[in-house]
Every structure is written in structure tokens, then in C-alpha cells.
Symmetry: C2
Subunit: 336 residues, 2 copies
DNA sequence: TTGTATGCGTTATCAT
DNA sequence: ATGATAACGCATACAA
């Protein structure tokens, strides 16, 4: 490994001078600086992140938190796209990313401790149980933190606009003449609560009654659970005319169930999804759904975080809502 | 931040003693060790990874390489599942993972340099252009490296058994009576070459002729490209009776195109996919495909790498092939 | 069994 | 404009 000492020797200067030259300090002569930089390049020098982190207390490393337990695993398209754009934007701005977890090996630490252990300059909480004390501890700590799809008032956050997204879907379906809307929802999280509340509120505003039996619990990204909920809805004395699914993937479970009953979409039953993953748009009929802009959310989160890291004095928490977009497929019939 | 110095003061011993006690050195008395460990816990002590890495030359951090450019981005289900299991297994064994890339911020370094910069103990190359010089440099370096779906003879690797997988699919289709098989393939990579070679070889073994026009190029995970290829196949004077798609997701593009032509699956056209993602099994009809065990591959890769890191002396490169499994859906008609 | 001394690679302070 | 020196937190060879 080539270190500043090697460069110092090669150039016949002190290590201090090398360090300054490499970091563009103003008190080094033009020529010396150039000579040092050239030698560094020739020797293939690159700084040692550990030494730098130790000395400066800055690691240029940001932690990313996916608490898999909560069902928001990396392998779900929505989250993996967020991860990908957080990664891309962070790297563009000079930061690496490391996953933060609990229980690394046999030493147990919570998220906050793990982030400290790795000297993370900041943390992005992408998916987690935000009510858990370990998460709250991290969010309340001195480590700059940005949350996605949830907001603590002490942290910046990027929120997908679930309220408006759900409202747009309900209004669209209403405009097509539907008055019996069933809603299958995922695990109760703040996102779920927002969508459900928005669903109810919009229905109320449009004078659509929502019988209790039209609201069914299921699980995000679990076609089987939504298939089951679909079956229950179909068993009702008065069936809904349109079913809202927790997400696009879950809809596939419903699709199967509807086919089993010999019902065709949208002739016999209308459906809408949520997320707007690419898959939803290659299905036939194209799924009517609401697209969340995961890419934008990820890069926005990275930018917010790094801005805070680099300007701790002028920083104030900001909430950014990422607007989505209604994708008008062909799964809602016009029964007006 | 609480350091060993704080503990040393609190316990009235030297820093060295604390360090030894905490690392379970054999030459510290039972009681002192216990006392020190208790104080450490009370004070909420956790080691500083940077200091430790600097001193020991070991970071307990492994680099993961996803060269997005090559189409193997994190957001493709196959890769995100590999990532997830690499992450889980690494954490279980006491290692964090950090993404390795080129051009971090404005300083440009190649993969090898990036890994050195972060003192990675080892690297998993999950998806990359293995012919690129930067990749070869990394693989040939002194940094322990494990590759997925490609093997350098100096590195351990975990390979999905594409040869056997494709053979299984061809034999299955053949047994159903099909003799006109079309093959749509992804970008030319070593994986693609293996599948294509296996396809051709198995067809030859079964006396199935493969006209050149039945082999069509497309792009992995791109339904549109496969849709196009499908259209070309349908335009042929003599249509195939079964189409092999590059992967399950790509099949969706073909599905759309077949529907446009009023062809139903599998009555008018049989199809098979590859990957066996969950989606393929909730579609109706269920897709006939070959499941790659991404979870096993990821955790196997992590284990191989860490084994090498921790036993550099006894280590020898190993190639592990991960067996998959034919998922017999209902998209291949019996025309025997 | 415990303590002393040293250095990992870097940056920052203060002299020169 | 440049250099000597200390310090970041930790682990280890060696001394006691």
C-alpha cells in the first residue's frame, strides 16, 4: 500500500506537506503541489479511509437501514429501486454506503451503535418499524438521519404522497361510475393508515358508503394473502364492483382468484393496484395503479442527508413529498 | 464516544489490559476480565471500526460489486435476492457490507482501488462485465474475491447451473412432444453462452433441428425486447411450437404479443421462462420455468468468501454450482 | 497477570 | 512556504 510517507520520500518533502498539497491547502506553492500530485498519481496513491475517518471523525460513509423484519426487504421492487438511487446519488456526491443492522456477528448493538461503530456520517432509514425504540433512538440521535415514508419532526424525510395518490385512485374509480369499493390493505403501518384514511375520507367526500366488510386486511407483496381477501369479498351477499389492492404484486393473487371464479377483468370486476411497477404496465389488461417515483425519492433522500452532513449549522429539517402519477390502465370498467 | 481509555480509567487498569480483556486474551485474570467487561457494558462501549481497521489491517467489511451498467442492477429480483442473502449471511458472520464502485465523488478509482480505500477484507462480485480489465484486476488481486455466475480460476465462485437448467427445460418440452423450439436470449454473456450452448447441445442430442431463425437476440429483463422477438417469430413461415424466454419477466412481453395475435397459452403456443421468480408462479397459467436458488447462492458466496478471509493459508479456490429446480407450470401443451 | 511503548495512515497545530 | 509533532482509538510485542 502506498501512503503519504512514500510520496513524501519520493518528493523529498515532509508528510505534512504532502497531506496539505493533496487536500488543496492554500499555503503550498504551486510547483510543489503539482509535483506532489503528479507523484501521487504515478505511484497510484489513494487515501486510506480508515485512517482518515479516525483522524477526522468523518467517514464519507452513510448507513442505509432496511429492517427486513418489517416486510420491506430489499428484494421488493419499490425498495430496491430506492436503494439503487440512494446508492447512485451518494456515490456521485462522494459517499459510500454501508448497511446498518442489529446483531452484527456475535456482538449485539442497536442501529445507533452500529452506525457509530462504522463512523457513519449519516443514515437513511428506508424501511423500518418506526415505532420501535431502536429506530427512535437513532432518529433522535446526533447522527444526521433521513427517513423515507415516515417523518420524525427532528429529521428530514422524503414521503411518497399516499394521501393524494389514494384520493386520485378513488376519484378515478368514482368517475367511472363505481359506488361499491372494497379496500384490501397491507400491514398496519403509517403508510397504510394514510392510504386507508385517504380512501375513507375521499369516499365520504363523494358520498360513497364504505361497509366494514369491504375493508380487508392482507399483507404487502403477498399475492396469496390478497387472493384470500379477494375470495372473502366474492363471498359477500353484495359484492363490490371494484377492488383496491395493497400493491401491484398483491393484485396478482387477486387476479388468480377472480379467474377461478370465472370473472373477467374489468368486465365482471374492476381492480386497481398501487406502486406502478413496470410489471403492472406489461400485464394485459394494463393495471390501473398509482406510480410512486422511487428513483426520485432515493436520490432526494441522499441529497437531503448529505446537505445536512455538510452544512450542520444552517440545516433545518425538511419534509419533501414525492408526487406520483395515476397510471390509467384498463382494469376499471366504465359503468357510469 | 466512550473508548477503551474511559474503561481503563473507570477500572483503574491500563488500556492494554482493557483491550486484552475485551478480546478474550487468555492472560487476563477471570475477575479483572469480568469487571472490565461489565464496566464496558455499563458505559455503553463499542469498538471503533476505523481504529481497529487501521491497526489490524482487517475491517470486517466486505465489498459487494454490482456494476449496474451491465444490466444486472440491484432492482432485478434475481440480483436483489442474492444481495439480500449475501447481506444476511455476512452479518451473521460478523461482517458489514459496502458497495464497491468506480468514481466515488470526484476522485476516480477503479474497483480494486476502491476496495483498498475501504480496507475491504474481501469482495463479492455479483454482477459485472467479467471481461472488463477493472474486474480482472480485482479478481487477480490479493484481495479475496468470490464471483457469482462466472469463474476465474484464481477465485472461488458460485455458479447457477445454467447448463443443467436449460437441459432440463429442453428435455421437458421435448417429452411433451415439441420439436420446433425457438430460443430468445439475453445479451451475450457467459451465462447466455452457457444456456445457448446447452440448448443447442440438448436439441442435437434429441435430434431436434434448430433453424437459425429460431434463435433471436433480446435483452434480459426487458419485456419489450422479448415482445419484439416474439413478433418476429410469429411472422415466420413455419412458426415454432414453443418459445424459450430469457427470463420470467421477459416472458411477459411475449405474453402480450401472443395475446395481440389472438394466440392463447399453451393451446396455440407453448412457452417457458427462466429464473422461477415468485411472480411466475402466481400467473395463470403458471409459467413453466427453471428456478435459480438466489438465496442459497448469496449465502454460499458469503460463506466461501469469509472462509477464505479467515483461513488464507489453507484456502483453495472452490467452484460451487447451485442446483436449481424445474417448475412445471402449465404453459407447455402436450402435443405428443 | 498486568503494564509500557509503539505504530497503523492521516490531519491539524504550531513552529520555523 | 514548509516541517516537526501530536493525536485519533486500538492491538500487540515485550517488559515487569
Amino acid at each position: 500500500m502506498v501512503t503519504i510517507t512514500d510520496i513524501a520520500k519520493a518528493c523529498g518533502v515532509s508528510r505534512a506537506t504532502v497531506s496539505k498539497a493533496l487536500n488543496g491547502a492554500p499555503d503550498i506553492s504551486r510547483e510543489t503541489a503539482d509535483r506532489i500530485r503528479k507523484t501521487a498519481a504515478d505511484l497510484g496513491y489513494h487515501p486510506n479511509a480508515a485512517a482518515r475517518a479516525l483522524k477526522m471523525g468523518r467517514s464519507y460513509n452513510i448507513g442505509v437501514l432496511f429492517s427486513d423484519a418489517t416486510g420491506g426487504g430489499i428484494s421488493h421492487e419499490y425498495f430496491s429501486r430506492i436503494l439503487e438511487s440512494v446508492k447512485a446519488e451518494s456515490e456521485r456526491l462522494g459517499y459510500d454506503i454501508t448497511f446498518i443492522s442489529q446483531n452484527i456477528g456475535r456482538m449485539s448493538m442497536d442501529y445507533y451503535e452500529h452506525a457509530k461503530y462504522r463512523s457513519c456520517d449519516g443514515v437513511v432509514i428506508a424501511s423500518a418499524d418506526f415505532t420501535a425504540p431502536e429506530i427512535r433512538r437513532l432518529a433522535a440521535s446526533e447522527i444526521p438521519t433521513v427517513t423515507l415514508d415516515y417523518s420524525f419532526d427532528s429529521c428530514s424525510s422524503v414521503i411518497s404522497d399516499n394521501i393524494r395518490g389514494m384520493e386520485a385512485l378513488v376519484r378515478f374509480v368514482h368517475a367511472k361510475g363505481h359506488r361499491r369499493l372494497a379496500f384490501i390493505h397491507g400491514e398496519i403501518t403509517s403508510v397504510t393508515q394514510k392510504r386507508l384514511a385517504s380512501f375513507r375520507r375521499t369516499c365520504a367526500a363523494l358520498d360513497i358508503p364504505v361497509p366494514g366488510e369491504y375493508i380487508r386486511p392482507a399483507v404487502y407483496h403477498d399475492p396469496r394473502a390478497s387472493g384470500l381477501a379477494t375470495r372473502e369479498l366474492l363471498a359477500l351477499a353484495e359484492r363490490p364492483t371494484c377492488i383496491f389492492y395493497p400493491d401491484d404484486l398483491s393484485f396478482l393473487g387477486g387476479m388468480t382468484e377472480l379467474e377461478k371464479h370465472g370473472l373477467s377483468i374489468p368486465k365482471d370486476m374492476s381492480v386497481v393496484g398501487y406502486d406502478g411497477i413496470p410489471l403492472s404496465q406489461v400485464l394485459r389488461p394494463r393495471l390501473t395503479t398509482y406510480r410512486q417515483d422511487a428513483e426520485q425519492m432515493g436520490s432526494e433522500a441522499a441529497r437531503l442527508l448529505i446537505e445536512q452532513i455538510e452544512n450542520p449549522d444552517t440545516w433545518l429539517p425538511r419534509q419533501i413529498t414525492a408526487e406520483g402519477q395515476l397510471l390509467e390502465g384498463s382494469t376499471v370498467s366504465d359503468i357510469g
